[in-house]
Symmetry: C3
Subunit: 139 residues, 3 copies
């Protein structure tokens, strides 16, 4: 078994901007040449999260509206009072969704449902350059 380290870099718009990473992660898996194992995706940073979703514009909006409802951007957070960057809501959303996602692969293919995509959600309150680490373990 081997460890292969890779990463994806891209820019995001913040405010629940959701990026479908499925194609890029599949490509990296092909590049690494592993057949069976797992890949751990990890967000470097504390205002983004990883999960899976059926990536279509309706659900992208539904997920964003859910976040705005339960962790509103319009109220004041202790983080903002201390640090003044106004993104307390971004941090709470990110900690809730989590920075890590582990996906199995078999025969060189990511194991995902037909309508299931791997997504990164940028919860920050501004545009960002983002790096997602991909740690492949397999053979």
């Amino acid at each position: 078994m081997k460890v292969k380290s890779d990463s994806l870099s891209f820019s995001t718009g913040g405010f629940n901007d959701m990026k479908d990473l499925t194609g890029d992660v599949s490509q990296k898996l092909s590049d690494q040449g592993l057949k069976n194992g797992i890949v751990t995706l990890f967000v470097l940073g504390s205002t983004g999260g990883l999960t899976t979703i059926e990536y279509e514009s309706g659900l992208v909006k539904d997920f964003s509206e859910f976040m705005e409802k339960v962790i509103p951007s319009s109220v004041s957070y202790h983080h903002d009072a201390r640090w003044g960057d106004g993104n307390g809501f971004s941090h709470v959303r990110a900690s809730l969704v989590g920075p890590s996602l582990t996906v199995p692969f078999s025969n060189g293919t990511l194991n995902l449902g037909t309508w299931q995509q791997i997504v990164f959600v940028d919860f920050d309150n501004r545009s960002r350059s983002r790096t997602i680490l991909l740690q492949f373990l397999g053979e």
Copy 2:
């Protein structure tokens, strides 16, 4: 170290139907014969989630009522407007809880607390046949 791929299949009732998978995952670990490592469970599909809970009927109900409160099934979602399958709430719940769970094992036994069970929650709005992948990495 080895990779061993396995899976569990079962039917579910939807509407937050929660299944205790602990016994089945333990059995698969025994079948695979690994002693130390991790197992990644992964839901194929975008309307189910994996977590742990003290699996007793009170908490099963509490978890379901929490989901209904924060992501109600009774309101309208953009997903439903576009696709008409009426399960927008199921998708948002699934993305929140997450499709993946990684559990360590030692000496051939899953490392879990005394009152902690591995559960799958079916958030869909109908009965389903479900498959959970189990990717074991260990020795």
Copy 3:
């Protein structure tokens, strides 16, 4: 590739008490002598969770207030009616956040953002002694 099992033990105060584990996990990684791979952290127990956050007192309070808002400790849970330990809210919070976190490491260093710390949150309604398992896989 090797599997190395380790753990962290500490006491917590309950009621969303949040502990920064980053330094201790880094130290354990050094002790184990692995360079590249992943570490899976896992809570033994069903009233605690693991995630990452920018660990500063404002966000610690924000995260706690969010939990109290969406899963209040002041209302009655079916779990409490059955078992009388009064910590139904603790269990629901723990199942939502999740018991497991997987973090990659490279060149002997945990891969984390500059302002990103690994934290354990104790959701229980009393002080506890806690054990977090660390399963390292790497080379």
